[in-house]
């Protein structure tokens, strides 16, 4: 994948940092990139609106920035750090910053931090979305396995036939195979009849309902 350097024009940055030379350098430089920066200190309870990036002074002690509150603000976090004190680094990590900016803040390095944060945040979000899909699939596969075993047992067929019949039954009901498997496991009686109909299409010589008799 070719990474492209974004144009930050019109982006909005929130800078949670006490008023000083560091903050002024940062806010001025963000302006040169077309970014509207709003600075605040002490940290307000909530962002004043949607933001595209959050700069946060990670050196301050407990009580100045509620890390729980500001973790994952829906935008990349750039941690502004001076200290390497382990306790502060732990607190900073809980914010899952996408990039860091060292103190004293210089003009050089701000663009780089923005580009990194933008890239890392997007990549992390995409990975998380892909992971969520994969986890759903793993969960659904377990149900599908249960459904196939149920069909093999009740209708006395092999694994391949059972799977093929379940898939055809799901298609005839316009359902994802995983969704049909959930229904089959939840309500075997009615759904096994659907599967058996499909089995007969696959195996035309197959005798009438054996295991799917009404109880």
């Amino acid at each position: 994948m070719t990474a492209r350097i974004p144009n930050f024009r019109g982006h909005r940055a929130l800078v949670l940092h006490p008023a000083d030379g560091n903050r002024q350098t940062l806010v001025d430089q963000l302006g040169r990139f077309g970014i509207e920066a709003v600075a605040a200190w002490p940290a307000p309870a909530d962002p004043p609106g949607p933001i595209d990036v959050l700069f946060l002074d990670a050196d301050r002690g407990p009580g100045t920035v509620d890390e729980q509150r500001w973790a994952d603000p829906g935008a990349p976090v750039i941690a502004i750090t001076g200290t390497e004190a382990p306790g502060r680094l732990e607190a900073m990590l809980s914010l899952e910053p996408s990039a860091m900016l060292n103190k004293p803040i210089r003009r050089e390095g701000i663009f780089k931090a923005l580009v990194f944060a933008h890239h890392n945040y997007r990549q992390r979000r995409e990975l998380r979305a892909a992971l969520a899909v994969a986890q759903e699939q793993v969960k659904a596969r377990q149900v599908l396995l249960k459904a196939v075993l149920l069909v093999m047992d009740r209708l006395r067929v092999g694994e391949d036939e059972a799977f093929a019949a379940v898939r055809r039954a799901s298609m005839s009901g316009s359902l994802l195979i995983e969704a049909f498997a959930v229904e089959l496991v939840a309500e075997p009686a009615r759904n096994l009849r659907l599967v058996e109909q499909e089995l007969r299409r696959i195996q035309p010589g197959r005798a009438a309902a054996s295991g799917a008799k009404a109880p």
Partner: protein, 408 residues
């Protein structure tokens, strides 16, 4: 503030890009004479010159010597971006100002540099628009292997991609290399719509001579049909290239000797009076000439040589220059300049065929222009933006400056 103000000059008047650097040195010396002869300035600029001969190590030691040993605060110099990047840490360490008199690839705003050459929105943007409109969007990029070429090619790639074309090939040669025949063969194979050259110095001369020789043998490769376009080709280099191989080369620049203005006529007269009747002026000479004039203005306005005061005074300073009015943009310390496009003739002069109607605001980060739709997720201005800034403790001040682009 009467007295002498020492000024450092760092230009590689020997080495692979000596033609350009010599022109830059000339421009600076000419302006220093002019300031010293002008009773409006109650101080004299005292030049100290070092030739680093294109060695990065020599650039750094020259600047260190000026700033640390001689206590000089203002240095005019550097041509290549790699040399500028090399010396910037010295200027930060000793808090001096580098007056950088060359067009460059942008994406920098050091607090210790005043940029008097063109930013990318002032050189490559108008050129790329012209090439796409008149020749096509399939670019062949050849360059000297350093950051000027890499970054310009990246910008060009984004622009051409946005216009539905692209870069068919991107080739680099080491600075100073004359080995260009493989490029010519590859261009014949690739058949692009135009050649975008970021070659500098000797490599450029060798390349354009070889390509123009090809064009004479094969009309399909004549520069009228398959042009070589460039953002840094200047008059002294046409002298080096020779008249026949120069004809038809396209250059994007904020200054050409052929600009018709009283200020430019005076500039050319003085330049030739000092450096010889045959001498030609150039964008590089003009940029360092402007750098000295702006420095003198800033010193006069500050009334002191104290670096903080001079830096503050420099922002917003302006002078009448051979290219037209030049003003330092207080926002980014680059200059408002007037972009032009021109074609080289065979008398080491350029014929200007397109010019911006007025000086264009510098945009070193290419924030306020759209490279087509390419890559840039430039978001539309949000309606609630005003409210957002209104409730702010300290608004960042991202105003949209009025940008005038070159129109044909």
């Amino acid at each position: 503030m009467a007295g002498k103000v020492p000024v450092g000059l760092v230009f590689s008047i020997t080495g692979p890009y000596s033609a350009v650097s010599s022109a830059m040195l000339n421009g600076a010396l000419l302006a220093i004479d002019q300031v010293n002869d002008d009773p409006a300035y109650d101080f004299d600029l005292e030049p100290h010159f070092i030739d680093p001969a294109a060695s990065l190590e020599a650039y750094r030691s020259a600047c260190e010597y000026f700033l640390k040993q001689l206590g000089i605060s203002h240095v005019i110099g550097c041509y290549t971006s790699i040399s500028r990047k090399e010396v910037i840490p010295c200027f930060e360490k000793y808090d001096g100002l580098l007056w950088y008199p060359s067009h460059y690839e942008g994406f920098e705003t050091s607090g210790n540099v005043i940029y008097t050459g063109a930013a990318p929105n002032q050189h490559i943007l108008p050129l790329a628009g012209h090439l796409a409109r008149d020749y096509g969007t399939r670019a062949y990029c050849v360059g000297s292997n350093y950051v000027w070429a890499w970054e310009n090619n990246r910008i060009l790639r984004d622009i051409m991609a946005a216009k539905g074309g692209g870069v068919v090939s991107e080739k680099y040669v080491p600075v100073g290399s004359g080995d260009v025949e493989h490029l010519i063969r590859d261009i014949v194979r690739a058949r692009p719509d135009f050649i975008f050259s970021t070659l500098i110095g000797d490599s450029r001369y060798a390349f354009v001579r070889a390509f123009q020789a090809l064009g004479r043998r094969e009309p399909a490769f004549a520069v009228e049909r398959l042009p070589i376009a460039d953002c840094s080709l200047s008059e002294p280099e046409l002298l080096r290239i020779g008249p026949e191989a120069s004809r038809g080369l396209i250059s994007s620049s904020v200054y050409f000797q052929s600009i018709e203005s009283d200020c430019n006529r005076r500039f050319i007269e003085r330049y030739q009076a000092r450096f010889g009747r045959q001498a030609v002026t150039s964008a590089d000479a003009e940029a360092s000439y402007i750098a000295v004039l702006l420095l003198a203005e800033a010193l006069r306005a500050a009334g002191t040589t104290a670096i903080e005061a001079v830096r503050a005074a420099a922002l917003g300073c302006g002078v009448e220059a051979p290219q037209g009015r030049v003003t330092i943009d207080a926002e980014n310390a680059h200059c408002y300049l007037t972009p032009r496009l021109a074609r080289a003739r065979d008398d080491h002069q350029f014929e200007i065929f397109q010019a911006a109607p007025e000086p264009v605001k510098p945009d070193p980060y290419l924030v306020w222009v759209d490279l087509g739709e390419a890559g840039a997720p430039a978001e539309p201005e949000r309606p609630e933006a005003a409210a957002w800034a209104a409730g702010a403790e300290a608004p960042g001040g991202a105003r949209r400056p009025s940008l005038k682009l070159v129109k044909s």
